[in-house]
């Protein structure tokens, strides 16, 4: 019996329990005693007791039985000898498993041939393609595995149904006017919400840990000193296994490029975004606002690769030609440059800044504006002295959020600033960022345990730490401001 079917039946039992529970609770409400919980809470409690334990058991059983089956197959396989036809025991077992899965597709009455050569056409007729090194001795093992699996599945299903029905009965028997079904349901809700938020935290922890282990492996071959303080990025893709030159993994050029481009982008996005937010929330009439705001948000919906294409096809050449025309010959702005990338990224970030700040500015209570205007302040004085200070914690948060977007941005940089890891202060030259190099190192035909690949994890972790620090700084600023003014 498939797990999906079992699940559906459990839920059906739960629904029945819900209906019965609600009816019983309603029937018990004769008006003499004030019921503690409303009838549908009793229904929900019966549903939850019927479904949750059974589903948990089903999950555990499924995992357990697949382990058991694995060991069963391994035990049944013939001893490995020097002339075994299959390269490894793991491969052997996986071939058996695919075969077992394929056999299930055959019609029930079909007599099984003894050799794979005879079996293969039958399977192909059913649309099952198997590896050609499947051996004859695997056929009985696969058949046996299937029967074991069926038995396990059936037994699991029966036990699960029993648990489900037991849960439902237990809950239904508890129903009484003063029974606290509402509290039980609420407590389970709390646990559910807690579990949901734990998933996010655990995932983050998992990501960090997995990056951490790869990073540690990386630091076994390259010293942290030369990574964090190295000024040359030249990973030198050595051929796999040659073990020769390793190259240099200096973070500094990438970090500098990341921060430089992000800074240029913020220099564009923050003033423009903030001013357009102020215009929209304080000055624009409703009709203007209803056009401009969606238009700005549309800008936020454009995929960044499109911005990148715009930069590399239109803006980059234009700026290069412009600079050439200005100096009369040699262009001082290269086709791919920090300036171009920062400019385009800044434009991309304008709607992020303006939309976040607009919400924050609009949230400043009208009483603040009235108070200031009523004292004879002009609109711009009111904005400068009352509204922006009151909105500042939110705006700082918005800017830091935007900064993390700028630091994490990849596509625009690849196209507009290039992949050359230079270390330069000239904004009109090419530079590259951490994210670009992460992609660079992971794409290509490299061994996964070479430093050339592992460096991507070290870079990723550095990026993570960078944004983490920024968020902490943002929190600190916001807190400090709050203390001062509330």
């Amino acid at each position: 019996m498939s797990s999906l079917l079992v699940l559906a039946i459990i839920i059906a039992i739960g629904v029945v329990a819900f209906v019965i529970g609600r009816q019983r609770a309603a029937a018990q409400d004769t008006g003499k005693v004030k019921p503690h919980s409303r009838a549908h809470y009793h229904g929900w409690w019966a549903f939850l007791l019927a479904v949750l334990p059974a589903v948990l058991l089903l999950a555990v059983w499924d995992i357990g039985s697949s382990f058991y089956l694995d060991r069963h197959i391994h035990a049944a396989l013939p001893e490995r000898t020097a002339d075994s036809k299959v390269a490894s025991e793991a491969l052997d077992a996986s071939l058996v498993k695919s075969l077992a899965k394929g056999l299930r597709r055959l019609d029930a009455g079909t007599p099984l041939p003894a050799t794979f050569a005879e079996l293969q056409p039958l399977l192909i007729a059913k649309g099952v393609a198997l590896a050609s090194d499947t051996q004859d001795y695997m056929i009985p093992i696969a058949v046996d595995a299937n029967t074991v699996q069926d038995r396990l599945g059936l037994f699991g299903a029966v036990v699960t149904f029993a648990l489900s029905i037991a849960g439902a009965f237990y809950a239904l028997r508890q129903i009484a006017p003063r029974a606290r079904a509402r509290n039980n349901v609420e407590r389970l809700m709390l646990w559910g919400l807690l579990a949901a938020s734990t998933i996010a935290i655990l995932t983050t922890v998992g990501i960090v840990l997995s990056m951490l282990f790869q990073t540690i492996t990386f630091f076994e071959s390259v010293s942290p000193m030369s990574f964090f303080f190295g000024t040359v990025w030249d990973p030198r893709f050595a051929a796999a296994g040659s073990g020769g030159s390793q190259g240099q993994f200096g973070l500094i050029p990438l970090l500098a490029g990341t921060l430089y481009i992000a800074a240029v982008a913020l220099l564009v996005a923050v003033p423009v975004g903030l001013m357009s937010a102020v215009y929209m929330s304080e000055y624009a009439s409703r009709s203007v606002r209803s056009v401009v705001k969606p238009a700005l948000e549309l800008l936020a919906g454009i995929p960044t690769i499109v911005y990148g294409i715009f930069a590399v096809v239109t803006l980059g050449p234009f700026l290069r030609d412009l600079s050439a025309a200005l100096t009369g010959g040699s262009p001082f702005i290269q086709g791919q440059s920090i300036f171009t990338a920062g400019l385009v990224m800044g434009v991309m970030l304008i709607p992020v800044v303006s939309s976040l700040s607009d919400d924050i500015i609009t949230a400043v209570p009208r009483a603040m504006r009235d108070g200031s205007l009523g004292l004879g302040a002009t609109r711009s004085e009111t904005i400068k002295r009352v509204i922006l200070p009151a909105a500042l914690p939110g705006i700082v948060g918005a800017i830091l959020l935007t900064a993390s977007r700028a630091i994490g941005e990849t596509m625009i940089v690849v196209l507009a600033a290039g992949v050359a890891a230079n270390l330069t202060a000239n904004p009109f030259e090419a530079m590259t960022t951490i994210t670009v190099k992460i992609v660079n190192q992971l794409t290509g035909d490299l061994e996964f345990n070479s430093p050339q690949t592992l460096v991507a994890f070290a870079l990723g972790l550095t990026l993570f730490a960078l944004t983490l620090v920024m968020n902490i700084v943002a929190l600190y600023i916001v807190r400090k401001y709050r203390e001062q003014y509330e």
């Binding site: 205007l373 004292l375 004879g376």
Partner: protein
């Protein structure tokens, strides 16, 4: 128009003849109407505000008291849909004239709002806000002087003199409202408009603010909106009764509360509606 000039002439003459008189007209509304979009909220209001007196605006909610009050310093300009018709004068100058600068007008006609709305700044900065914007203090010592005297006039100096750098939002509701009054006083207005200044306060804080209003009358002209009959009777010299956007009746507070001309005023005062 003709009548208007004749009246102002009479007033001007009256001023000369009786300089210390209480009857100088500080502000005058002439056929004031207000529209919010298509909807008219105020109709043909003719109302005088006399200098150094407290004028109370009473009437059931939604009758246009706040709307009229906001006309007096053009706060209605900040509401997109609002449109004002008729004429309002301050010392005989039309405040809706093109040559009038609203910023200057609002410095002369200050406003205190229903809910205390101190800025999220220190107590000192709250009071210094207006003078700073209008450049009233050249030096720090001048500003200290203005802040201190405003807080004293608003009868809150003793409570806050040791904590001027603490946030104004940390004060109690009644203190916040007096801080807002100090903030309005700091720009030396001639008229102070108050829109139900005590509605968010407890009885003790209310009593303090009412006392304060009575003291302020010496130096300022005050217009106060209130929904409390007792308050109007306690603090005001003149009372104006609004109903459904019309000015029903206006007169000396004593007379209004003992012997009103209009049946609606009588009903409202005795609590039959509203």
């Amino acid at each position: 128009m003709n009548i208007m000039t004749e009246q102002s002439l009479e007033n001007a003459v009256g001023d000369k003849m009786n300089a210390k008189s209480n009857e100088v007209i500080k502000m005058r509304g002439d056929k004031v109407g207000v529209f919010y979009g298509e909807k008219q909220a105020l109709f043909d209001v003719n109302l005088d505000v006399r200098q150094n007196q407290v004028t109370a605006l009473i009437g059931p909610s939604g009758c246009g008291k706040s709307t009229f009050l906001r006309c007096l310093n053009r706060m209605n300009d900040t509401i997109d849909s609002a449109r004002v018709t008729g004429k309002i004068t301050l010392d005989e100058d039309d405040i809706y004239d093109k040559n009038i600068d609203v910023v200057e007008l609002r410095a002369r006609v200050g406003m205190v709002f229903q809910k205390p709305n101190p800025f999220p700044k220190s107590i000192y900065e709250n009071v210094a806000y207006g003078p700073r914007i209008h450049g009233l203090a050249k030096r720090k010592s001048d500003m200290d002087q203005i802040v201190e005297s405003s807080l004293k006039k608003a009868a809150i100096w003793n409570e806050v003199k040791d904590r001027l750098q603490e946030p104004g939002t940390g004060l109690s509701g009644g203190q916040q409202q007096r801080l807002c009054i100090a903030r309005a006083i700091a720009v030396s207005p001639e008229v102070i408009l108050m829109d139900e200044p005590c509605s968010a306060l407890d009885p003790i804080a209310t009593a303090r603010v009412e006392e304060l209003i009575d003291e302020l009358r010496q130096n300022y002209t005050i217009v106060i909106v209130t929904h409390s009959m007792q308050q109007a009777a306690r603090v005001s010299q003149r009372t104006a009764m609004f109903h459904l956007g019309y000015l029903v009746e206006e007169g000396a507070t004593d007379k209004m509360f003992t012997n009103p001309d209009d049946k609606r005023t009588q009903d409202y005062i005795t609590g039959r509606f509203g």
